[in-house]
């Protein structure tokens, strides 16, 4: 699988869409930073650390565009088929693709937050003492957003493996995220709300919008994300191993 990962990293480094998305994220981060500086925004850096990575629809759109090009594009170009035809096992190919997909998501999702945190810190200070508690807080927020976004990434990855078309991946990914988000924020039934708590949709919304009184405890986020991601990746692998390729 090592050689497949090397090839995937090479592809990623040469992919125009990925570079364009990274540039877009950077530009949005800088633009937001400018708004912060000009607008007299008084929040300190730690405020953004607390909500980093939770821009639900923005992240869903970025991940969908990335998955459409990076995964569904392989079906459209028939390059998955070409790799299998000369001996790559479907399992190894899926593993390499998924690993590089998740690694590629990290800069894509966090550049914007890192720039914003830097601008707020320079402008208004960090807002917390540099001690062990702050370190634990930062690590827990970073882990929280990685877990939630990877679960969202796994959902969109599954959509890409099922749809096998760029347009359908963007449609299902971004459209599906919007619908899920709407269903979640409009849910008032207490029993169903309890169930929503196990989803990344609720978990991200609880932090970002403050609509929910209580953010979901970290252990629940960790367990539900890991189980959810594993199940979604398993389903995508099964779909990939069973499908006929053109």
């Amino acid at each position: 699988m090592g050689k497949l990962i090397k090839a995937e990293l090479f592809k990623l480094s040469r992919t125009f869409t990925y570079k364009a998305l990274i540039t877009f994220s950077t530009v949005i981060g800088i633009a937001f930073g400018t708004v912060v500086v000009r607008g007299g925004f008084t929040a300190a850096g730690i405020f953004w650390v607390a909500i980093m990575g939770t821009g639900f629809l923005y992240n869903a759109a970025l991940i969908s565009l990335f998955a459409a090009d990076y995964i569904a594009g392989e079906f459209a170009n028939r390059t998955f088929a070409a790799e299998i035809a000369c001996g790559a096992s479907r399992e190894a190919l899926f593993g390499a693709k998924a690993a590089v997909f998740f690694v590629g998501l990290l800069p894509l999702l966090f550049i914007y937050d890192i720039i914003t945190i830097a601008v707020l810190t320079v402008q208004n200070g960090f807002g917390a003492a540099w001690n062990a508690d702050t370190a634990v807080f930062i690590i827990s927020r970073v882990l929280f957003s990685i877990l939630c976004n990877f679960t969202m990434g796994a959902c969109i990855l599954l959509a890409a493996y099922l749809a096998r078309s760029r347009l359908a991946t963007v449609g299902i990914g971004a459209g599906g995220a919007y619908l899920l988000h709407q269903c979640c924020i409009n849910e008032h039934n207490p029993v169903l709300l309890k169930l929503w708590q196990f989803t990344f949709v609720y978990q991200m919304d609880a932090v970002c919008s403050g609509r929910r009184a209580e953010p979901v405890p970290f252990t629940i986020v960790a367990i539900s994300s890991l189980v959810g991601t594993a199940a979604l990746l398993g389903a995508a692998l099964l779909a990939f191993c069973r499908c006929d390729l053109k």
């Binding site: 050689k3 170009n77 390059t79 790799e83 035809a85 001996g87 006929d244 390729l245």
Partner: protein, 259 residues
């Protein structure tokens, strides 16, 4: 086919491929056998010409050989391996093009081949340049050009270069002459000649029977998902050497007409 004493490298036994499709008019599932019990054998060193009409099942057979589709029934054997879970290991010794070359249009020719080289874990020993030159792509024509801007024939040539990169023992080409200009067709013939000399086995499907008859050392005739006959080029020569006439007689035979 007994005069072919060499080792069997690909064998299909009673291979069937069934597709089901929902017919909207009747609301019923319709079953279609793309392959209906194919038996065939390719021996080392063969230049095997696969001949058959539209929809006969040639592409489906190649997709099964390449691992892109699984047979509904029957078995295939590649370099002596028939365990479906281990076939992919033997597929490292094959490569080819099915219908149109599979390329990443957003990358250049060199980048496409580099991805392929990394995937297969091949040494960086100048083989990318060698494959490009074997396929007749001049560096000055392709330098820095994205594949999306290639002509059909250039894409076909790049597909051939990609197939040759890992120096496979068995190459498969489905309609390789599509989109090639007369010079390209001649170059392809010369390339197959060179591969034949170096002992590479090639499976080619084509509707261009005259061109195919200049290359192939044996033929298999496919009709409606069945192999209606296999013959060596030498035996065909003894029977008059007219591939087109022989193919038409096979078609007649399979549709129950006079031999």
């Amino acid at each position: 086919m007994d005069e072919r004493a060499a080792e069997t490298i690909f064998k299909a036994e009673n291979v069937k491929k069934k597709y089901r499709r929902l017919q909207l008019s009747s609301g019923q599932w319709k079953t279609n056998y793309a392959l209906d019990g194919i038996n065939m054998e390719i021996r080392r060193g063969d230049i095997y010409g696969l001949v058959g009409g539209n929809g006969a099942g040639k592409t489906t057979l190649m997709r099964i050989l390449a691992g892109l589709a699984a047979p509904t029934e029957g078995t295939i054997e590649l370099f002596g391996e028939s365990d479906p879970k281990k076939l992919h290991i033997q597929r490292r010794r094959i490569n080819g093009i099915i219908e149109t070359p599979a390329l990443n249009p957003a990358l250049t020719a060199w980048e496409n081949l580099e991805v392929c080289r990394l995937q297969q874990g091949l040494a960086d020993d100048g083989r990318v340049e060698e494959a490009l030159s074997l396929a007749g792509l001049a560096p000055r024509d392709i330098e820095g050009v994205k594949v999306r801007n290639f002509s059909l024939g250039m894409k076909q040539r790049l597909g051939i270069a990609k197939a040759l990169l890992g120096r496979p023992e068995l190459l498969f080409f489905d309609e390789p002459l599509n989109g090639l200009d007369p010079e390209g067709i001649w170059d392809f013939g010369a390339l197959i000649g060179r591969l034949k000399e170096s002992g590479v086995t090639v499976l080619i499907s084509s509707h261009l029977l005259r061109e195919l008859s200049l290359l192939a050392t044996c033929y298999g005739f496919v009709c409606k998902g069945k192999m209606t006959g296999q013959i060596t080029a030498r035996k065909l020569e003894e029977k008059g050497g007219d591939l087109e006439a022989y193919y038409l007689s096979q078609v007649q035979k399979s549709s129950g007409g006079m031999d």
